[in-house]
Amino acid sequence: MSLLRRASLRFLSRHPGQLALTVAGVAMGVAVVVAIDLAIQSARQAFRVSTETVAGRATHQIDGGPGGIPDSVFTELRVDLALRESAPVVEGFALSSELPGRALRILGVDPFSEAPFRPYLAPGDGELDIGVLLTEPGAILLSRETAAAAGVVPGDGLPMTVGGRRVQLRVVGVLNPDGELGRQGLRDLVLTDVSTAQEILEMPGRLSRIDLVAPAGEDGETLLARVEEILPGGALLRGTGTRTAQMAGMLAAFDLNLTALSLLALVFGMFLIYNAMTFSVVQRRELLGALRALGVTRGEVRRMVLGEALLTGVVGSLLGLGLGVLMGRGLVRLVTRTINDLYFVVSVESLAIPATVLLKAGLMGVVATLLAGLPAIREAVNAPPRATLTRSMVEDRTRRLVPRAALAGLGLFLAGGALVLIPSRSVPLSFGGLFGLLLGMALLTPLATVGFVRLLMPVLSRAVGILGTLAARGVVASLSRTAPAVAALVVAVSVTVGLGIMISSFRGTVVRWLDHTLQADVYLSPPAPMASRAEGALSDGLVGRLRGVPGVEGISTYRGVTVPTPEGDVRLVALDLDPRGEDAFRFLEGDPSTVFGRFRSGEALLVSEPFAYRRGLQVGDSVSIPGEAGSVSLPIGAVFSDYGSDQGVVMMGRTAYDRLFADRRITSLGFFLAPGADSEAVLAELRARVGGEDAVVIRSNRSLRQASLEVFDRTFAITAVLRALAFTVAFIGVLSALMALQLERGRELGVLRANGLTPGQVWTLVTTQTGIMGVVAGILAVPAGLVLAAVMIFVVNRRSFGWTLQMELGPDLILQAVGLAVVGALVAGLIPAWRMSRTSPALALREE
């Protein structure tokens, strides 16, 4: 190793605190990025693997509409088209008290048709014969892991609720999947035969879908064309990958929002690196000058500092990867829960750790370190030989940079603003604009700091005396160090406050929406695997029993189904709307006085705002719904506010639905009580009528509202965690900046101590200075936070999820921003203040 390299390594090892901060900056940034990426990838992979496992080797599938496909279609395929490679599937979700919190996927198959599709199920293969499914009613197979989790062995019964009904099934065997992927794929899968599935899912004579293997090339195309011809109405033939891709695509905006937040943590980490590295170079300016005089070239200096950056970058990134995997294990639960609440059912067995994610994040960490280290490297390379240049020269240069930085900041801010205001739907574009706005505001900070300190100076000198003036001048005099710290504090606080405003505005909007939407007094629905939508169907008998309860004046019925269309699945709700429920809709477009009549008679649809936004539709445009009785195209009568699904919902009058589909089932009910009716008595009566056979959830308006808000808060848990993480990284950055500042001023403080300043006065001086920085940052963070919140509320949310939120500003905003900044700066200033007040003046003076 060359002596230069050795000297540089020893420098790092002699300043372990600084090194630790830099490494921590890289590590934290990388860890957050890795953790989020791993969590998202794991959820996606779990979804893909389980979908692929269930699809097996099928190349195509025929999906039925809400009512499924008649059995006879399968017979036709087999007999008329002689399509041997086809398999019927009946699919649905169930819950079991033995496996709390896990949605079980019921897969009903025909063992004799399975061989070409799901080899792990083929009869006669291995020790397990799935033929047993045929001989016993209610027989099911579980994977070993799922059986163990439920605590059952072959021969045991397993109670489940399907839709709203209780069923008793019996485990007749366990599947032993090979390897991790197999285990993930069969997790929470309940395998049974077609007829059992039809029975428990109440789909007599119907199939959910038919899997096909079509040969590639012309033969396959001919075959598929013939299949198309015999398809019944509402059924859709599509490649197996298509639907999976469409479903995975639903996550795009969700992923992007989380990723953008995680990148923010990396950006804060970069600030930390910038600060620590610049400090380490500034400390060595004299030495670097001497080296240059001795004949060390700029190139060699560059390589030396670059080497240090690279080393910290690599070590920090490696640590970050490890930390990220650990954090990922925690975050994957939050991410999966949110996906389950909002998008689709997925169950993650373990954190997937793809090498590409680690590689990408590791590279990002190293590149971020090098980028953040560039100013330090430039500073080092430009260290003049045998420098007699001192800090004041650097500060002169910094002050000259202030107007330039402000100009660049203004440019970036305007460019970011323009990007945000471009009438586009691109989410990446809006995040690009958001980052531009943030960076622009950060670059404007130095100028604003100088201005504010000038304003504060007279106040301070009156309040704290000469120490106040000293403290204020110190902020301006060491601008190269104070301005980045204030900027980081501004960005951290504005992001925290901005996200806070966004979340509380969102919550406020949802609360008002729920108050509006939940018009019925009592709701009844089956327990659902997904929190945000009611799945399954109530049994016919139950619905009949629930009519005519004393005290109930009206009932709205609700049937939620997924309709496969060539453009992707459409969430369709068939609504038999009681007139009292009309107030539940808040229309953004359309005429409330006429639309309900047309809606009930089946002449118009109601669509949610996200649905209209995603497809670029408005009132008067038509939406085509493929039904069993043929496709219908209906005009949109109104667009309503909805925050339940970012994919959007189409509402159709029940009569129109019944014309299109053979399905007569109901998913949930809303009861309107007569004025003065005793709601407790009605609830009790309803519970009595439900009896023990059905497992439905009966909730009062208030408790449903409460439950909905709980789901809302749950889906924002991940955002809150990221917000806290980003703030933590930024806070460490501010801490390091303030420590560097005070360490650099050691001599100055030493002189003051020598002249009679008491340790307490040093404490006052340092604390006043950090306090000033906190106040300035807090004041600047208020407008910055407002801008951020507005962009996130009106642009990012709209473009990501298609809904409009109302911005809510509490009077506590300013207090919160200033308080957070001041407390942050003061806390970060505690350690340096303590250190400096304890340093003996002699030592500080000698250290020069």
Binding site: A290, P384, R386
Partner: protein, 264 residues
């Protein structure tokens, strides 16, 4: 004033018609005006001049850290003004040795490693180098401190290490900037003695910028910067009372503010 159109073969440093000025607050301030001088191999030369006379500027120009606005600087027959910044840096590491006022040892290298650094930079690390470095350390009386880090040494000891560092790679010219400026008189005197003997024993060439009369007293020749010109002080060769008197006139008064060296 020295003026020699064709430098003799044993001339190590030749300065001709140097002119150097700075912009200061919108007006030009000339530090060097037609400075011309020659130094021969083996000469011990001291440069005197009041504060602000341009001594540091001249040292920067001689070492190739800065370049003159006009004129040429030849060190060992190479015209530094014709070289790029990088070439000058590489030239410096091969042909020049430095002794600084503030020692400027690398705190993260041991004493011995500090000595090996110029050799490594020169690219001639050989098996005998460590022995050579050790030998020099013994000559400066620190033979047993090779593994020590500089911060464990006193100021005088640090400057002795710096002397050894300036000599270890056998440079053509050694430049010293106030080598005793940061030492107490007794220690300074011992360091000067050492510098004198080392330079003379090895037949090295030295140009020292100083206010110290003790240092000037040891010089073969004394140059003085006066209003941008280099003047030769008449004096007998070798240390003696006359030289010391001449030097003492220059060494009066403190030196609160050397002109700031700027980035070339």
């Amino acid at each position: 004033m020295l003026s020699n159109p064709t430098p003799a073969p044993d001339v190590v440093l030749s300065l001709r018609g140097l002119r150097k000025g700075y912009q200061e607050g919108g007006r030009r301030h000339d530090v060097l005006l037609d400075a011309t001088a020659e130094i021969r191999r083996g000469e011990f030369v001291v440069l005197l001049g009041p504060s602000g006379s341009g001594k540091s500027t001249l040292l920067n120009v001689v070492s190739g850290i800065d370049i003159p606005d006009q004129g040429t600087v030849e060190v060992a027959g190479v015209d530094l003004t014709a070289l790029s910044e990088k070439e000058r840096t590489l030239f410096r590491r091969r042909h020049l040795g430095f002794v600084f006022q503030f020692f400027n040892l690398l705190p993260t290298l041991t004493v011995l490693e500090n000595l090996l650094l110029p050799l490594e930079l020169k690219g001639t690390v050989a098996s005998g180098d460590a022995a050579r470095a050790q030998g020099l350390l013994e000559r400066v009386g620190l033979g047993d401190r090779g593994r020590t880090f500089p911060d464990r040494l006193s100021g005088g000891e640090q400057q002795r290490v710096a002397l050894a560092r300036a000599l270890v790679h056998e440079p053509d010219l050694i430049l010293a900037d106030e080598p005793t400026g940061n030492l107490d008189p007794d220690t300074g005197e011992r360091v000067l003695e050492l510098l004198d003997s080392l330079v003379r024993e090895d037949g090295r060439t030295l140009l020292a910028v100083t206010h110290s009369r003790e240092l000037a007293a040891r010089a073969d020749r004394i140059l003085r910067l006066d209003h941008g010109h280099l003047l030769e002080d008449p004096r007998p060769t070798g240390p003696g009372p006359t030289g010391a008197e001449a030097a003492s006139q220059e060494a009066e008064g403190p030196d609160p503010a050397e002109p700031v060296v700027r980035e070339p």
